[in-house]
Amino acid sequence: MEADAFERALRPLLRRSGGYAFSMLRERNDVEDAVQQAALQAWRRRAQFDDRQPFNGWWFAILRNHCLDELRRRRRTPISVSCDDVTLSSSADETVVDRVALEVAMEKLPETQREVLRLRYFGDLTYREMAQVLDIPTGTVMSRLHLARKALAGSLTATEEL
């Protein structure tokens, strides 16, 4: 893969790569570093890229590994917002309240379910691409994603009823 082709493939993915890495690392500087490192590694390994597979899945697998390395280095959990960290006034913006509730509910999910949600929404990946990133069958992606959504919906409903 030539430099131009590599850049053409990667550039459209940068925005969601930033969002995906941010959903794991929660620090913009760390996100930029992880994406830069992943880009360097992808560039170095470009000869190993199988063009019968989606580039998105290949790229996000590399990026995910860099984010996991960073988390291991920091020994922090991917989503670090908790109810204790957030103090909301009665006039707090409804959108912010909604987002925080969603993040808290996501934090309660098992990591395998959070992972598919992050790849689906922040990475905007298809089931096939998610299966490639996680190295699992597409059917498993489908069932994990549905379980995650059901659990999340249940958790949010329970919170909102309080």
Binding site: D4, R16, V31, R44, D98, E103, S143, L152
Partner: protein, 139 residues
Amino acid sequence: MRQVQDEELSALLDGELEPQRAEQVRARIEADPALRKEFGALVRLDARLRGMAAEAAFVPDISFPGNAGDKASALRWPVGIAVVLALVTIRFLPKLIVSPVFGLGLQVAACAAISFIIIKMAMDPDLPRAAAVSGGMRA
């Protein structure tokens, strides 16, 4: 037994069902109030998650390795030639010139040129990354 599997509701939402199966599932949702309620909850959750992802998305400021590598390669030869010429000037040219003041002036100019090139290279943000690509990965 229900004619629609739970996971198929998510797959329909994500546009991952075959067109024919998607049509069957949609028809089943229309006919079944419980299924409609369940699917409605998934649609609302989907919208909230998309909103959260859209808020988090941003374009990281990175340099593309290939371009940085090309830039480094493109710079290598001209910089090398300029440095060699400046060193030759410093070493030999003053001996060929009768006026010592003029020779000293040339030496100073050559030193200034080398310093300028080195400072310019040091201030180029892409070059360290280019070195990482050509010489091995960081960490």
